[in-house]
């Protein structure tokens, strides 16, 4: 009984600790913060951490992103693109998620994630520090074809 109580206490402590760490890691929980952190984690090879950020961003902002997508009939122009923040960030996160899954060699899940991006959030745009917007859905389309490379 004493052993069980100790185990329970330890599990509880671990859970509290994990929650605290998560809360700190997610920063202000904004879509921009989560997306930036996900990119950095992807670039530094921390795949699981990247997944944590993208999943949180998708969980919190997907509904808003879908609404923004529905309000558009074409890509937003350069001047107004950033007002569609949820669409852009969730779209980018889906692209990052696909990339992570490719790294993990989970091709099926990667294709499914990329397809979700191309069908649900095709007008998402992501700012490139070189000075232009690129479209995660277009990049995802290319990735889907790349993933078919080894197929006979």
């Amino acid at each position: 009984m004493k052993k069980l109580t100790t185990k329970l206490m330890l599990s509880l402590l671990m859970a509290i600790f994990t929650l605290n760490v998560s809360a700190q890691e997610f920063g202000d929980h904004s879509s921009a913060t989560l997306t930036t952190k996900a990119w950095k984690a992807l670039e530094s090879g921390e795949s699981d951490l990247a997944l944590k950020y993208v999943d949180k961003c998708i969980e919190l902002y997907m509904a808003q992103a879908i609404k923004m997508q529905a309000s558009l009939s074409d890509l937003a122009d350069r001047e107004s693109a950033s007002t569609y923040w949820a669409l852009n960030d969730v779209g980018t996160c889906l692209f990052i998620k696909g990339q992570v899954l490719v790294k993990k060699e989970d091709t099926k899940a990667a294709v499914s994630t990329f397809k979700q991006l191309t069908t649900k959030l095709k007008f998402a745009q992501c700012w490139d520090q070189n000075g232009w917007f690129w479209q995660p859905a277009e990049a995802a389309k290319q990735k889907i074809v790349e993933l078919s490379y080894e197929e006979e």
């Binding site: 670039e43 690129w134 479209q135 277009e138 389309k141 990735k143 074809v145 790349e146 490379y149």
Partner: protein
Amino acid sequence: MRTVNISLTIYLSCIIWLAANQEHQVKFAKNTEGYWRVFINGQETPIRGAGGVQTPGMLETFSKVGGNFTRTWGIGSLEEPVAGGKRYIDRAHELGVSVMAGLWIAHERHGFDYNSKEQIKRQREHVRNSIRKWKHHPGIAIWGLGNEMEGPQSKSGNPAMWRELEVLAKIIRSEDPNRPIMTVIAGSSQSKIQNIQRYCPSIDALGINSYGAAGGAGSSVIQAGWKKPFAITEFGIKGFWEAPKTSWGAPIEPNSSEKAKSYFATHKMVTQINTGKEQCLGTFAFLWGWKQEKTSTWFGMYLVDTKEKLPQVDGLVKAWTGIFPENRSPIIKKVEASFFGKRVQAKQRLTASVVAIDKDDDELSYDWLIVEESKAHSVGGDKEYAPPAHPELTIKNGKSCKVIAPRKSGAYRLFLTIRDGQGNAATANIPFYVN
């Protein structure tokens, strides 16, 4: 009897003349499915092309695996000697490879002044004389008027240059009405395309040099209102100017297996999948050969000196034909190095490793080499010199390697070359910085 002979001679001359001119009938037209295509003597020819293909032996490998079109940047390349000492254009024709003959049009960034009557006159004479010299050669299918003459970094190009381009196109048409004219620009900026529509009605097709965005070029072309056909006249992986960078600004180069997928996907996207595919005549990959540009491997599809085939060729061949070449290049699954994109200390011992496979079960060999980062800041493919390499710093070669970081502070790359001993290779590189 003499009259009969003269008649026979005239008759035969006419037959020969007609046959010769028959060779030269090239046009862009829609096929039965509504796709724009090059028709050479009535033969539908979707462009499965590449640039370069210049080094002796390259035309042979190119045609063997299904390539049917090459392009040159300047007219002088047509005469360069290739295998067997033959002229490039003659050998290409012999192998059934058509050529888009490039007519180099001067760039303002190289000092050309489109307001100088003297310079303009010289350029017009050069174009006219080039067409007169070459228009009877059956190996030439398209005239490629200029390459990125508007400036790779320009948004719309100088109107004086566009107006002059139209004059040059008219000169070509007057000298050779039997071949179409394509001009080549950097990227698919709408303002550039709109300027060509506005100033250059004699241009028959648009050539787009595009790397990261090549797959989506058709969409840009349509958005710009371009109704004629287009081709992707240079493509490959993301250019070093658009690739992710290290904290010291070194562009991160994908390994050759990642590149293969990118070549494969881009050709398929632009010709078979994406918006605008019906207007696409085909693609020219860059570069069937090798070139020092930022790194020695960024654009090349073969290894310098040894001419070993890289996986990019496999990717392109799969996109063209649906099947891989006979013996594939090694495939890099993973490269691991804790110092990838990081700063290290001078003389620090570094280790890296690779996981690679060979589909043909060929035995693989591994070479690791530290090379200084290129200090060239050229644009538009201007000539660069290869930076110094430091073979003395590799202390163990193999699937995993040990190297010593250079003494001198600065940016470097650790290059990996994998060979299968059958003429095929794979490459990767790891950027790092010595403090």
